[in-house]
Amino acid sequence: MTSFFRPLAALLLAATTAFSAHAQNLPEAIRFGGFGQGFGQPYGLALLAVAQGKGFIAEEFKGAPVKLSFEYLTGTGPAINEAIANDRLDFAQYGSLPNIIGKAGGLPTRIVASYGYTTVFALSRKDLDVKSFKDLKGRKVAVAKGTVLHWALLKALQDSGLTLRDIQLVDLKTADQLAALTAGSVDAAVGSSSLLTLRDKGVGKVFYSSKELGAKASGFGAITVTEGFEKRYPEATQRVANALVKSAHWLSQEANREEAYRIWALSGVPVQAFKDDFDGVALKDVFNPRVDAFLLSQYDDAIEFTKDNKLIRNDIDVAKWAAPAYVETALKAQGLENFWPRRNAIVARH
């Protein structure tokens, strides 16, 4: 009897282990996407670029036949939303406004981690005496509408007691902002550190940087996963979150600052831009990966903004959108539970 059952049992055991290996179910490929600043290089920025560049993600899938691909789209937010809709990306790192616009448009995304925040700058024409946004009342201010910079402009205006109605908003992308400000067609421009080339050329003066206001007025966004991927491959999703937490921890070490700048510079953005963005700022604060009350309240605020400005047609349930558990599990596993504070909501969450 036993001689008959033993091989059968062995077969069964083999079948079940094979099955459980299958149930653990790692995907054949994981496709990551992110913004690439339009410099045409196959490298990105922020948290995802470090997770790729330092091999943290590859490490998580070592030994498993999982093909990792990274794509940094020149079309930034809108192009990333389209890529997700076309089922070309599983994970995507992009700004909060296109995050929101995509979600409201029906994209099945979930927020896995914060990718850190970016400094927002405002430049005025050299011949204007502008000390703060108050001096720009009624004047032409260029910003890329429908991006997180548009929202950040509102935050900056609010800090000066103004609203978007107090200025003439001109919708221009970075390259055209540079030309328009140089030609004197607009009085000021709001953008990322790429605007600062004008300061270096003596065409414009920086009169505002979100460094003064910190995270609450800076550009922010998330690394998202598609619902389909998350449901099918929870284990892989967790491993990606593990790698993201490791990357954020690595970034938080002061000793790694220069190397991080070098990794980001591969994207084509000059190192000087990162110095402008982050010198004098603790990278540990910037790259807090937690999807915590603070981040969600930022999303609430930005959703209100997009509704007020008629950028979205449907409402979003932020609590359902967020998937904070992956990062929290990773923090626990890596003994980093208390490394980053759990930040409170900036405004009461409704």
Binding site: G102, G105, D176, A179, A180
Partner: protein, 281 residues
């Protein structure tokens, strides 16, 4: 006899496969048939579109359903957004067509009649024309800012290129026999221009204008996508930013229909002009 005639007509009809039609239908049917045939392809595209959406071959966020696009069209038309955008864009097209067309015609005639102009000017012009419009825009913004002037210059340049090219070609291709006849008749310069040059080159000049019109639309969309806050091209970029591709599709359809209508109008103008100008044949 009449009876015999009838059978004869019926026999002919049967031979050509055409059903015998009452006289009214005979006058209405051919143009109607042409319209129906022209609409066959758009109808097929619409059908394929609906099928694609129904079978979910493409994500509905990327290709919205025809019904949704129609709804968005009605909404945009009702709110006046579409009309206002279209009006601004058409004004830009009209200015570009007028400036680029007149300048192009003048330059083209000059290049066509003067061997010297041809030698001195044409190589430089051809080199300048080879630079795509997109390449000029940063420099043009620096000079003209981002206001209307910029857009009209860019569109005018887009119209100018095909008009210059076809006008000069049209004039150079006038058959030698006509020119010799004119020489024998010792026509005055003005008479020569109005009686021979223009009528003889009219078809090619007009095909240049029509090409210019389609280039104007391309330039319009490019320039409105880059540096505008209103107009139909801007509406399309904005729709993409908002991930509401139904707005983009509305823009595509509207630009297509308006472009076609303008092309038809130009063709009509050419027909009436060639009737008005003395026949050169």
């Amino acid at each position: 006899m009449a009876f015999v005639d009838h059978t004869a007509i019926a026999g002919v009809s049967a031979a050509t496969g055409q059903p015998a039609l009452p006289p009214l239908a005979r006058t209405i049917w051919p143009p109607l048939r042409r319209v129906l045939l022209a609409l066959a392809l758009p109808a097929a595209i619409l059908l394929l579109w609906q099928l694609t959406v129904a079978r979910q071959w493409v994500s509905p966020q990327i290709l919205p359903a025809p019904a949704l696009v129609l709804g968005t069209f009605l909404e945009l038309a009702h709110s006046g957004e579409l009309g206002a955008g279209l009006l601004i864009s058409l004004q830009r097209i009209a200015s570009g067509l007028a400036i680029g067309g007149v300048l192009g015609l003048a330059l083209g005639v000059w290049l066509g009649v003067s061997q010297r102009a041809c030698t001195y000017l044409e190589p430089t012009l051809r080199a300048l024309f080879a630079v795509p419009t997109l390449g000029w825009i940063p420099i043009l913004i620096l000079i003209f800012g981002i206001e209307e002037t910029l857009k009209i210059i860019v569109i005018s340049k887009a119209v100018l290129v095909p008009v210059v090219m076809s006008t000069s070609r049209g004039i150079r291709n006038i058959p030698m026999a006509y020119i010799e006849a004119a020489r024998v008749l010792r026509l005055r310069r003005w008479t020569y221009l109005t009686r021979l040059t223009l009528p003889a080159s009219l078809p090619i000049v007009f095909s240049g204008f029509r090409l210019g019109l389609s280039h104007a639309f391309i330039a319009l969309i490019v320039v409105e996508m880059l540096a505008a806050t209103e107009g139909i091209g801007y509406m399309m970029v904005w729709g993409r930013t908002l991930f509401q591709l139904d707005i983009v599709v509305v823009g595509i359809v509207v630009v297509g229909v308006v472009g076609y209508a303008l092309d038809v109008a130009l063709r009509r103008l050419e027909q009436s002009l060639s009737r008005w100008l003395p026949d050169h044949g």
